[in-house]
């Protein structure tokens, strides 16, 4: 891995933006909401202050909320594979990068996802402090970016200057033309040490650890799931904002001369998600559906396929759940039973 020293991260960002369209988390105009938006002349300098995470992870860049799969005009089918412009996502946090790697596997054979993914280079950024509600160290997803999950990784050192790590040839090509001083091995050593210090600043997450054990040992009583199911208002917020959630449904929309098949994000918390044509539903109660959701996030069953849990510790579900059954609430309830 090559590494360089960087005084001005904005200069790097501008250099990258001169080559491809660039998206980065920034405040929506006139508000204090951190959203993924295109870089413009109004975009402010990169900051390392809270909030660290934008409302959405980066998944909608590859797996959009809605997407046309093909068109049919009454006699012929028309392919609608995307032909995206080359783009860069700048400032992706470690949890969200782990989730992209997770979805890369899930959508390995999905040409729509892959077309967008191949057109995108990722620039990660290390989190130098815990974010509100985040627990990435507990699920091995941060706070610093894992090797190989981004093309470039930026790390702010204690003197406020930056360490730039290059993980792919595409990343190396991006920084051609920038005059950068090579970093030395002690810079890398210091970064490794700093990650331990940042990780130590996260609040205790024993409820998460205990909860994972209970889920994997099938020790959570059905009544606990039912009680939490009663709190599920079926809003779909957790699955919409979860960086690893990937379920979709498809449907045909009539258009002028035929129809188009579109897919959109689905949610496993909906009653009709698994309801069969007969009306029979293998997950008929809200409690069973809540249980299934968390099983998918924390069961060892899936680590064989994905090499990690389906939760990357971002905490977005806790913030967006109106029924108080986001990850912290659920894992506290689970770890308190028995």
């Amino acid at each position: 891995m090559k590494a360089f020293l960087l005084d001005d991260i904005d200069q790097l960002r501008d250099h990258l933006a001169s080559q491809r369209s660039l998206f980065t988390p920034q405040y929506t105009e006139g508000s204090t909401e951190l959203n993924w938006l295109p870089l413009t002349s109004k975009t402010k300098s990169v900051t390392t202050e809270r909030p660290l995470l934008p409302t959405y992870p980066a998944k909608q860049f590859f797996f959009p909320d809605r997407e046309i799969l093909f068109q049919f005009d009454g006699s012929d089918f028309k392919e609608t594979l995307p032909e995206p412009e080359p783009q860069i996502l700048f400032g992706v946090r470690s949890c969200d990068l782990c989730a992209i790697a997770y979805q890369d596997r899930f959508f390995r054979q999905d040409p729509y996802y892959q077309a967008r993914r191949r057109a995108t280079l990722l620039v990660g950024i290390d989190c130098n402090m815990p974010c509100e509600g985040g627990f990435c160290p507990t699920v091995d997803a941060g706070p610093f970016v894992r090797d190989g999950l981004a093309d470039l990784v930026c790390h702010q050192q204690q003197d406020a200057s930056w360490l730039l790590m290059v993980h792919t040839p595409a990343g190396e090509a991006l920084i051609q033309g920038l005059e950068l001083k090579a970093a030395e091995s002690h810079h890398i050593t210091r970064r490794n040490k700093q990650e331990q210090q940042v990780a130590a600043r996260f609040p205790s997450a024993t409820h998460i650890e205990t909860g994972i054990q209970r889920i994997n040992q099938a020790q959570v009583p059905a009544e606990t799931w039912q009680a939490m199911g009663l709190q599920c208002l079926t809003c779909s917020g957790c699955t919409n904002l979860c960086p690893t959630c990937s379920c979709f449904t498809s449907y045909d929309r009539p258009v002028a001369d035929g129809f188009e098949r579109e897919r959109c994000w689905d949610s496993c918390l909906y009653d009709a998600f698994q309801r069969e044509a007969s009306g029979h539903n293998p997950s008929a109660t809200a409690g069973q559906r809540v249980e299934r959701f968390w099983f998918h996030k924390f069961s060892n069953e899936y680590t064989k396929t994905f090499d990690r849990y389906g939760c990357t510790g971002c905490g977005r579900c806790e913030k967006t759940c109106p029924g108080v059954i986001g990850v912290h609430s659920v894992m506290k309830r689970i770890s308190a039973t028995l």
Binding site: T55, P84, E85, T320, C321
Partner: protein, 690 residues
Amino acid sequence: MDTASHNISKITSSICPYCGVGCGIGLRVEQGRITGVEPLANHPVSQGKLCTKGWSTAFAVDPIDRITTPLIKENDTFRPASWDEAYQVITEAFSTAIAEKGADALGIIACARATNEDCYAAQKFARAALGTNNVDHCARICHSPSVAGLRQTLGSGAMTNSIDDIEKADLIVIFGCDPTENHSILGGRIIRAKLAGTKLLVVDPRLTRLARMADLHLQLQLGTNIALINGLLQIIFANGWEATEFLSNRCENEEALRAKVAKYPPERVAAITGVPEEKLIAAARMYTEAECALLTYGMGITQYTTGTNNVISISNLALVAGQIGREGTGINPLRGQNNVQGACDMGALPNVFPGYQEVAAPASREKFAASWQQKLPECKGLTSLGMTKGALSGDVRCMLIMGEDPVVTDPDQHHVQQALAALDLLVVVELVMTETAAMADVILPAAAFSEKAGTFTNCERRVQLIQPAIPAPGEAKPDWQILGGLASRLGYNGMNWESAEAIFNEIAALSPLYQGMSYPKLAANYGLQWPCNEAAPNGTPLLHSKQFSRGKGRLIPVSHADPAEMPDEEYPLFFTTTRLHFHYGCGSMTRKSPLLERETPSGVLFINPADAQALAIRPQTRVRISSRRGEVETRTVITDEVPPGTVAMPYHFKEAPSNRLTNNAQDPVTKMPELKACAVRVTNLEDGTK
């Protein structure tokens, strides 16, 4: 949709277009189209959360199926027309009606989903451009009794407290509503409060989600609210649990109320309501012992022939217990639409100008006549149901309906259809083809909330800004521009505003409640709660803290009365209407989402296991439901959510319109129809065939 890429171009901060909670929503724009929403993490009401309807907003405003040009009906089909031509047809018909029968032969239905600016324009159009007070909107069938009842007892018909107060209460009382279904983000805050130790008391004939979580559930018979509350008051007075000091300092007419409720001892009330005496006593104790008890209610109070009296009895209870005028207390009606509070505030009602200034008061008429440069009509106008009645009798000749679908949402569908068919001209301003729009002679294409600037007022009186995320499709325009253009054709030029902001400034100048507000101030504060004026420049989260709007709180004795139609031998079951979390109103927005549409069948009857067994009904059995007004066929869901003897249907589905069955009997004060109770017979259509 362009398939080349999915590049986010911008996010526009706005307000959710569904219920009256008023959640913050970011509209994500890609390639000139709204493709998704982002909850606003810092919004004071929603705090980064949305319900399933809010999350599906991109589907609701999808360009597919939108009406993009004016349409004129010829030989029973619609053809595109120019704005000029459409205006011409309307102007001719309106002018003829005025010449032949006077301006009261016209009626305007404004819209609780449109902006304040649109609603203000609608009532100004009726009053100044046409010369009639025949202007109303769907608050008639949701919270007109709240406005009428609370104005008599407190002097103001809006939520007394703020949504934030949910977390400040020790006890939350939920009367005749299920906020987790219809006001989910507010309902979620009740769940959060409950988990943190707040007690819950639910009064509802249905075993709702919150009833399952409650510390105490009073499962009363349909239509017995007044008996129940009088019974609680009798227990409170008999035990000396009333707020003595509060009553003597801040209320009047206590003796009359005492005399009335003395006739409602627990044994009588238990017999009427079906709620055991010990539960009545426990509830009276809980409500009076709580340091801060916040009461919230919904359609289970208002949609009765006794709607106004139901609201008055709610007010009696809060006043006697002194649970009002402080943080964490109060009387909090939950408003169904994003801007039903605002539509009322704007005077889209037949009896009041903007800011609830009475049409009957000469001083208000003079004030508005001077500002609007027009002589104004004196007599009170017709309500929405009065207009449909007038259409049948020939007194009302033309109507203009903005974005409402009375064919699906109003009681007694056959009656509504006959009335609209009898008009000389029906004009509908709409986004998509609804059942009502299909009956129109002229359809005018409206801009959606995501395509215009303006303000919505949520149920806690918070006036919030919306701004256009994308241009309106085709020739669609905001309602206020449509009405302004029509007013000019009719010879009135007082509605040629340059922007929504100019209208808002006119509203602020004429309505004391909004006096201190402006677009920049609203933008800087996530909205402001009215009244906002010199005395309260940053708005008023809490009403009635020192004194009531009318001075003293008035206690008004009211009596129990049965619903207009009770079950009998011919129609043995009680029938009530409900709403589902997944749908909204007539479904014209929510039913565009494939996920929401998949979630529920298009029509369903909820029936208790005991009644189902008696009729040999199994899940998904095909049944016919008949009332004295009509019949509907649908399928059953068996659930203990409804009590034995009562069946329920949601009203969202044109395929199984519950309003073919509902009773048009009305509250004498507000003309609110009795949508919550009538009598039906259920017939098993599969019985004997198997």
